[in-house]
């Protein structure tokens, strides 16, 4: 079942580190947010293929926003 990966902190997308189709392991960063002057990775909760990335670098995201979808 596809699983949405959500931001756990409000911040700005600093770097998108995965693209659709990439295989990721649990704990791999999919996106790096910048918040509180820190680079904070948003990690894949489980292994799988990235189905969709919903954010762009420089975009502001709120806590709870969906950042990516894991197939």
């Amino acid at each position: 079942m596809p699983e949405e990966i959500k931001a756990h902190i409000t911040g700005v997308v600093y770097q998108v580190t995965a693209k659709p189709g990439d295989r990721v392991q649990a704990g791999d960063p999919v996106v790096v947010l910048e918040s509180m002057k820190m680079e904070i990775p948003v990690e894949a909760p489980r292994a799988g293929a990235v189905q969709e990335i919903r954010v762009k670098e420089g975009q502001t995201v709120q806590e709870g926003d969906t950042i990516a979808v894991l197939a």
Partner: protein
């Protein structure tokens, strides 16, 4: 009957009590992946050290539908024994007897066990595996109006003797407040759960369909609610965790925590400490690596590892003496403090202070989280809890600033204003009310806006501001005690701990403060 016959009769009654709820019920207990109450006590206490009290009790015989029923030990085994050589009292519910429900006589036994712990000043351990109150005996105003004193007594005992409530099965309704008031709550994965109202009550009252596991299983309480302190794999791991936890604590608040001989050299320098913290101040790292590199043999007993992970708290030893560690975790939310992490740290600081366990703070905190979400959640109130707890604590307090020490984060992590007995910084330390970027934008807002090239002007101002943030400014003003080579962290802390051992601070008399809960 002669005395020999009477003795035989006694032996038969004792055997009946020890047979618990019978073979079928014991088989069901085992099939559920649980040990029986007596198997648990064998594992908890040193061999042959357990003395049972109230073993011959049975139900009160006050409910018509209980007539003819047997309730060996009335569904709860109570007594005292030695855990790693030191006495502790126990109340262990027996699920094989009427689902471990709390009967009237069972409660009398529990009161007796708590009295032992309280008046003789020894830890109180609950092994909870109980459906809650025995409705047959508790229903109606006549019995219920006098009940509930256990929670008052548990509150009074809080901070006097260590209290551990292990969830080794269900703990519904009343039995859920026992862990809530205890100091340490391990939960067995898959078999334990707690909720103020179990699934049938929830269905009846609010119409929600939910399983006991989804309502109050170990994942819910150890990762979301924060009521559980540690998720453990099975009964054995649970009992082992209790023993390990208690080893860090004195038997009561009038004693020091027990030190053990230590063969990890006090002057050990750890080269790894030069490589853990990244060069970029914006990069995360695992602060637990720092903790493990510093403490005796790398042994760290973490409390609430799955909840509010942006702060790390737990027990360890330095030179054989127990300490409580509070460390910011840059890996999670950049180490920024929020509502739950402030709550977790405040409670842990109070726990250590209550039982004379010195505190060691490792600071790397960009500050408290800001924004509407945390303000509405009451971050001011929760942050104040941590200020309050660290201010109240009179145990030895040692602070190491690893990297960031910004704003109120520096205060709550035992900055200079909070009576640290030693405060030192690594050369990477940044102690300031806020970072150079944030500060520049506020202080030089007009100058930047009015400059021919605002971006250039901002960058120049940020660089100037940055020069003001380094540990030598703080050490030069004698506001921190030293800047240390990270490799010296362990020897520096062990020497300071020895220096602070005789610390004595008398606060003005008061009934109690008004804690911002």
């Amino acid at each position: 009957m002669g005395l020999r016959d009477l003795v035989d009769e006694l032996a038969a009654k004792r055997a009946r009590s020890r047979s618990m709820g019978g073979d079928d019920a014991i088989a069901r207990q085992h099939a559920a992946g649980k040990l029986t109450v007596r198997e648990r006590l064998d594992l908890l206490f040193d061999a042959g050290s357990f003395s049972e009290i109230g073993g011959l009790a049975t139900h009160a015989g006050i409910a018509p539908d209980m007539a003819g029923k047997e309730t060996p030990a009335d569904g709860v085994v109570t007594g005292y024994g030695k855990v790693n050589g030191r006495l502790a009292a126990v109340i262990a519910y027996d699920f094989t007897v009427m689902a471990g429900s709390m009967g009237r006589n069972a409660e009398i036994k529990c009161n007796r066990a708590r009295e032992i712990a309280y008046t003789k000043r020894m830890p109180m351990i609950w092994l909870i595996d109980s459906a809650g109150a025995r409705i047959q005996e508790a229903i109606g105003s006549k019995s219920f109006a006098g009940s509930g004193l256990l929670f008052r007594e548990e509150s009074v005992m809080s901070g006097v003797v260590p209290q551990v409530a292990a969830m080794m099965g269900p703990g519904a309704a009343g039995t859920a407040y026992i862990p809530a008031l205890a100091d340490f709550v391990p939960m067995v994965k898959g078999t334990s759960n707690m909720a103020l109202g179990g699934p049938p009550l929830v269905k009846a009252v609010v119409g929600e369909d939910i399983s006991a596991e989804d309502l109050g299983g170990s994942k819910v309480h150890c990762e979301i609610s924060g009521v559980g302190d540690l998720e453990v794999a099975d009964d054995r791991a649970c009992l082992q965790a209790i023993k390990e936890y208690l080893a860090y604590f004195p038997s009561s608040n009038t004693e020091r925590p027990p030190a053990i001989p230590c063969d990890d050299p006090a002057d050990r320098r750890d080269e790894d400490l030069l490589a853990i913290v990244p060069d970029s101040p914006r990069r995360a790292y695992d602060v637990k690596k720092v903790v493990r590199a510093v403490v005796d043999h790398g042994a760290f007993f973490e409390i609430k590892p799955g909840w509010a992970k942006n702060i790390v708290v737990g027990l360890a030893r330095l030179g054989g003496a127990p300490v409580g560690v509070v460390a910011n975790q840059p890996m999670v939310l950049g180490g920024a403090l929020d509502v739950d992490s402030a709550d977790k740290a405040a409670r842990f600081i109070m726990l250590c202070d209550a039982f004379n366990v010195p505190l060691v703070f490792f600071q790397d905190v960009p500050g408290f989280m800001v924004g509407s979400k945390v303000e509405r959640a009451g971050i001011i109130r929760h942050g104040a809890k941590m200020l309050y707890a660290v201010s109240e604590a009179t145990v030895p307090k040692l602070t190491v600033v690893l990297r960031k020490a910004y704003g109120a984060g520096y205060f709550v992590m035992c900055g200079r204003g909070y009576e640290p007995d030693l405060i030192v910084a690594w050369p990477t330390a940044e102690i300031s009310v806020m970072g150079p970027e944030g500060g520049t934008n506020i202080i030089f807002r007009r100058e930047i806006a009015g400059a021919a090239n605002p971006d250039e002007e901002r960058a120049r101002r940020v660089e100037e501001f940055r020069k003001l943030i380094n540990p030598y400014m703080a050490a030069g003003a004698a506001l921190i005690d030293d800047v240390i080579d990270p490799r010296e962290t362990r020897p520096v802390l062990i020497r300071a701990l020895e220096m602070a051992r005789t610390k004595k601070i008398d606060r003005p008399w008061k009934k109690h403060g008004v804690m911002p809960v």
